[in-house]
Symmetry: C2
Subunit: 344 residues, 2 copies
């Protein structure tokens, strides 16, 4: 089967897709899906566990990466921030002795300033995001996982608990990870539209984002999975799990963020290792498990794991998953949708 | 007497000067004084009545204009903001539907961001200003008039009471002025160093700033003058007036912001007219009165008023007061200091 060679028009009656996304890899696949699906058939639910306040501003790095990518405004080289960016505010804040461990470009800063101003008026993040998307010409629905603060806390051996950006940017993922906590998740509500999107979706696609700190926060907010999965903790009472009774979801497919035992970007592989798990596509499939997943997309270089993934009760599908160019995003999105259709 | 032609070295034993300054004109004379006097002989007390919060940031327009001018960072053409400025944040905030009636450049914005961040930690404006001056290489002492909020409220016929920047920038000074109020001034304390600087000064120089909304707020905070001057209201009990018992001040000299019946920049002349007073150098001298002033510097084109100013009990001195170039600033500062020496 070579779905890559099939023209997009062969995607008949396109499925209704909910994509769960974190940062760069997630944004890229979401962009591929956005170019294939009618906008009303795609809702992207984005991790906000990495949101934080810096320079007094409310910053939503994953949400911005997804939106900038979909709007064609993203910096393709760094994977974060805006293209054609200038750094005049940052350089001058630095000259005044301000905090300079988190770089923010001038155009990017406008997003944080206007979001912060509107949040202070009491407007929820989801409404602000909807309006920003409209102004940026983004047609699929982009939803933060929740309007409530659910900061991801990384527990480390050397430094104890660290707020996510403190771990990720300030400490450059150096400390050894012991575990994760999604602070306040027990009080958080999914953002308006999240539950509805899941209920009416044919399929949920887990983009190739970090399972521990990008996808798990979303799953935890929608109460499908506890942060440290155990059979008892799976499948909450209040909200629909990705697959399950009471939802229209007929498939849930994850795309592995781990290729050949390593991550393209970010600390996912390092986190697996530090938690005592050999990082691999199989480890990612096991992390979610068959209670959550119907299918699993792994890279061709990892095709050797297909048998073991199948034995988990999850349908494997291997293809080229590395997204270096915009064409790669489209190609992978096509492959994922073809695979999904085979599962429905 | 042609003091302009005397070299700076003839200023022997330089006087200790406190300059009161508002925006552009005040900043220019302060800059001239800063180039003539040893830094320890100059303290500039700046109006903060026009401070306001915009985009969630604490903005001190007069303080910034004075500091940028002294640091050589000011935009000479606009009279506000920074030179070599870019507008990437502003344009992007505008694209997101944010408020765009108050323009802020990227470099300028860094000042507001870092000031706001530090104010939120509880640091007073005067301490933040001291540190910024150090980083910008400004050697004279620059003090905000107070660390407390004392917003200038402009009462207008058409729109009632307006916050100063709402009147000044958003409404472009169009509404007709009825009066002014310095909100909270009765609870405000002069910033640390203000009273001490005045007590140890030989002379107070009122820079050519708007009497109603730049100098009066400062005088009101130091309790030398009530906003609507009346004999009963002059000379408070708590703090030293510019001239008076208990202070070392031997002279107080104002430089007229009105030349030939008009202001170089800003609404001072319009304000005089709307309050029923013909705008002129004489009107400015009368506004302060001899209870406050020893001497008064007016432009050569207004020399005709010298006799009447003298009759007010205030020593007049006429010279070229227009400051178009950096050399003009130096020349006027020299003239003012020579005049001051003749009064001491």
């Amino acid at each position: 089967m070579t779905p890559t060679n099939l023209p997009p028009s062969t995607v008949h009656r396109p499925p209704s897709v909910v994509a769960l996304a974190g940062g760069v890899g997630g944004a890229k696949l979401a962009d591929g899906l956005a170019r294939l699906l009618p906008p009303e058939n795609l809702t992207i639910i984005v991790n906000t566990g990495d949101d934080f306040v810096h320079w007094g501003l409310n910053i939503s790095p994953d949400l911005d990466t997804v939106c900038y990518t979909l709007a064609g405004l993203a910096n393709a080289e760094t994977g974060w921030g805006r293209k054609d960016e200038s750094w005049n505010v940052f350089e001058n804040v630095k000259n005044l002795g301000g905090e300079d461990w988190f770089r923010m470009g001038d155009r990017d800063l406008a997003t944080h300033l206007e979001r912060t101003r509107r949040l202070k008026t009491g407007e929820p993040l989801s409404a602000i995001t909807r309006d920003f998307c409209l102004r940026w010409g983004i047609r699929p629905t982009v939803l933060p996982m929740t309007d409530d603060p659910v900061p991801t806390i990384v527990d480390t051996i050397e430094m104890g608990e660290l707020a996510f950006q403190e771990y990720f940017v300030h400490q450059r993922c150096q400390p050894t990870v012991k575990g994760f906590r999604f602070d306040g998740v027990e009080r958080a509500q999914p953002a308006p539209g999240v539950v509805e999107a899941i209920r009416s979706a044919d399929v949920i696609v887990f983009c190739p984002s970090n399972p521990w700190v990008s996808i798990d926060p979303i799953l935890t907010v929608i109460r499908a999975l506890t942060p440290n999965p155990s059979p008892a903790g799976r499948g909450g009472q209040d909200s629909p799990p990705p697959q399950g009774e009471g939802t229209g979801v007929r498939a849930a497919v994850a795309v592995s963020p781990i290729i050949g035992g390593e991550t393209v970007k970010g600390p996912a592989a390092k986190m697996f290792r530090e938690l005592g798990i050999v990082p691999s596509s199989l480890a990612v499939a096991r992390h979610y498990g068959r209670e959550i997943l119907t299918g699993f997309v792994l890279d061709s270089v990892d095709a050797e794991w297909s048998g073991e993934i199948c034995q988990l009760g999850i349908q494997p599908f291997s293809t080229d998953t590395l997204m270096k160019t915009p064409e790669d995003r489209l190609r992978l999105a096509k492959d994922v949708l073809h695979f999904v259709e085979s599962l429905l």
